[in-house]
């Protein structure tokens, strides 16, 4: 690892360049509308189909337990990594 004089981590990106500012909001043009829409869909969906959404989430839980060992091992990795810092 030799010394370097140049900073590779530079970007021309300016905070807020993809934003739209309207009605007193200043929001990222993709992230804000998509998340807001998904949240509204979720809440409305739960309200209209409480049983179906309950079942869907329960099955998500089952899928989750399939991945448990993977998630578990990665959690251990994170711990070692932090301690090593």
């Amino acid at each position: 690892m030799g010394d370097i004089a140049k900073d590779d981590y530079q970007t021309d990106y300016v905070v807020g360049q993809d934003n739209i500012a309207k009605f007193g909001f200043d929001i990222h043009n993709v992230v804000f509308p998509v998340t807001a829409l998904l949240i509204i869909l979720f809440v409305v969906g739960t309200l209209i189909f409480p049983t179906a959404s309950g079942e869907l989430l329960a099955s998500a839980k089952t899928v989750l337990s399939q991945f448990s060992t993977g998630a578990f091992c990665s959690a251990q990795t994170f711990s070692f990594f932090s301690v090593s810092l």
Binding site: Y9, V30, F32, A36, A71, V83
Partner: protein
């Protein structure tokens, strides 16, 4: 590690907050309501085989009591904070040292380059926001239930603790959180977190001195020993036939839960950690909360276990009937019940406000493309949205809907595991690069 001398925000940066306020904010954001909710219920659940016992230990034995504390600490100790530290350090470094936007995608610049500003970054940020908002709404819902249960417990004639009270609590808390969000970090979260720490300290002192003081001191030692001693067997993912139920129901669930919580806590930690060195950051984020958790768990959980083993109180006679009541049932058997229960309720409520508040700041920052100074209207929007989700779900499905939502948050958090693994690599790359740069500039040796 050689990179540990790098200072967040540049080598000349000064910390923005005092150490005490910094610790208070770290802690309030990372554990908060959960610690109130589970510090009694979780050890009791393990001791009494409520949903499996750790490592398949025989329930209601002295051995089970030790393991109950060790396993609880295992879930609340170093591991969650290690996850938070990685996210927090990545974001702090790329935001304050490299001048990138304060949003999750910035941490992936070393891997993706300028593509992080395009769709891969959008996907990362959207997952992070969803995990955060569902996680928060779940926490708020559980917090409302506990506060309502506590009020009904304390004033049985006046308050019924039903749904109306819960929704009322959510509305009230959201209103205060909105005020606090408007006031910004200094006048809002920082103030609240400090108030939190004072009340928590008082409550801890009350339980400590009014309860079995010597027993609690002994318990702290036992808890630490059980934590350290059982860390390896509990960390082994293979051959867990003895306690599959427990392992899947608790450990795996907690890990997934902490991961889904990590964009929120990590980002909030990053936001308040400017001016700290990498070493200071990691030590503070890993050790301080772990030590506080040992003290807290030993005092609350340990007292409850002692009561059960001595056959005192409702927890001993009826077992764990209502998780949201467990803490109050423990407080009932030590002097000054009215005072401690009341403080408990207040503490749940204040923790509740801090979570909602810091969560809104984080979501606001991500959805505004990484601005730290986004307009207030937007912050209000998110604070109100969180409250509404929690309220609506409680109203429709009660606790079941909350569990469903929690499962949802955890499922959203799952893909985030991969994001986190990438983040480790990215962070190492970034820090090493920074170190060489600083050496070249003569600012570090």
């Amino acid at each position: 590690m050689p990179v540990s001398k790098i200072r967040i925000g540049g080598q000349d940066a000064k910390p923005e907050f005092s150490r005490m306020s910094w610790f208070a904010m770290l802690f309030a954001a990372g554990m908060g309501i959960g610690l109130m909710f589970w510090s009694v219920a979780e050890p009791v659940a393990y001791l009494t085989d409520w949903y499996g016992t750790p490592l398949g230990v025989e329930p209601n034995t002295p051995e089970a009591a030790k393991l109950a504390m060790g396993a609880t600490m295992y879930h609340w100790g170093l591991h969650p904070w290690a996850i938070y530290a990685i996210v927090g350090l990545s974001l702090a470094f790329f935001t304050y040292n490299k001048g990138f936007p304060l949003t999750i995608r910035s941490a992936f610049f070393p891997i993706l380059g300028d593509r992080v500003w395009g769709w891969p970054g959008n996907v990362i940020d959207i997952i992070a926001v969803l995990a955060t908002i569902f996680g928060l709404a779940t926490s708020l819902g559980f917090g409302a239930q506990q506060a309502a249960a506590g009020l009904a417990f304390l004033f049985p004639e006046a308050i019924e603790g039903g749904l109306n009270v819960q929704v009322g609590i959510i509305a009230g808390v959201t209103a205060i959180a909105t005020l606090s969000v408007i006031r910004g970090i200094d006048g809002g979260v920082k103030l609240l977190s400090n108030i939190n720490m004072i009340i928590a300290g008082l409550l801890l002192a009350f339980v400590f001195f009014a309860g079995a003081t010597l027993g609690i001191i002994e318990q702290m030692w036992t808890t630490t020993a059980a934590y350290v001693g059982n860390m390896l067997p509990l960390s082994n993912p293979f051959g867990r036939e003895e306690d599959t139920t427990w392992f899947h129901g608790w450990t795996v669930f907690y890990w997934a839960w902490w991961i889904s919580w990590s964009p929120f806590v990590g980002m909030f930690i990053a936001r308040v950690s400017k001016g700290r060195t990498v070493r200071e950051f990691v030590i503070a984020v890993l050790l301080v909360p772990t030590v506080i958790s040992i003290v807290w768990m030993s005092t609350f959980g340990g007292s409850a276990l002692a009561q059960i083993q001595a056959g005192v109180g409702t927890l001993a006679s009826d077992g764990l009937t209502d998780v949201s009541l467990a803490m109050f049932q423990m407080l009932e058997n030590i002097p000054f019940t009215a005072i401690t229960s009341f403080m408990g309720i207040v503490l749940v409520l204040v923790f509740f406000v801090t979570s909602s508040d810091s969560g809104s700041l984080v979501i606001d920052s991500i959805t505004s493309g990484g601005r730290i100074d986004a307009p207030k209207a937007q912050r209000i929007f998110w604070a109100v949205t969180e409250g509404m989700i929690a309220g609506v779900l409680l109203f429709v499905g009660g606790a079941d809907a909350l569990s469903a939502l929690q499962a949802g948050a955890v499922s959203v958090g799952l893909p985030f595991t991969f994001v986190l693994l990438g983040m480790c690599y990215s962070l190492m790359k970034g820090l090493n690069h920074e170190r060489r740069l600083l050496i070249a500039e003569g600012k570090m040796t």
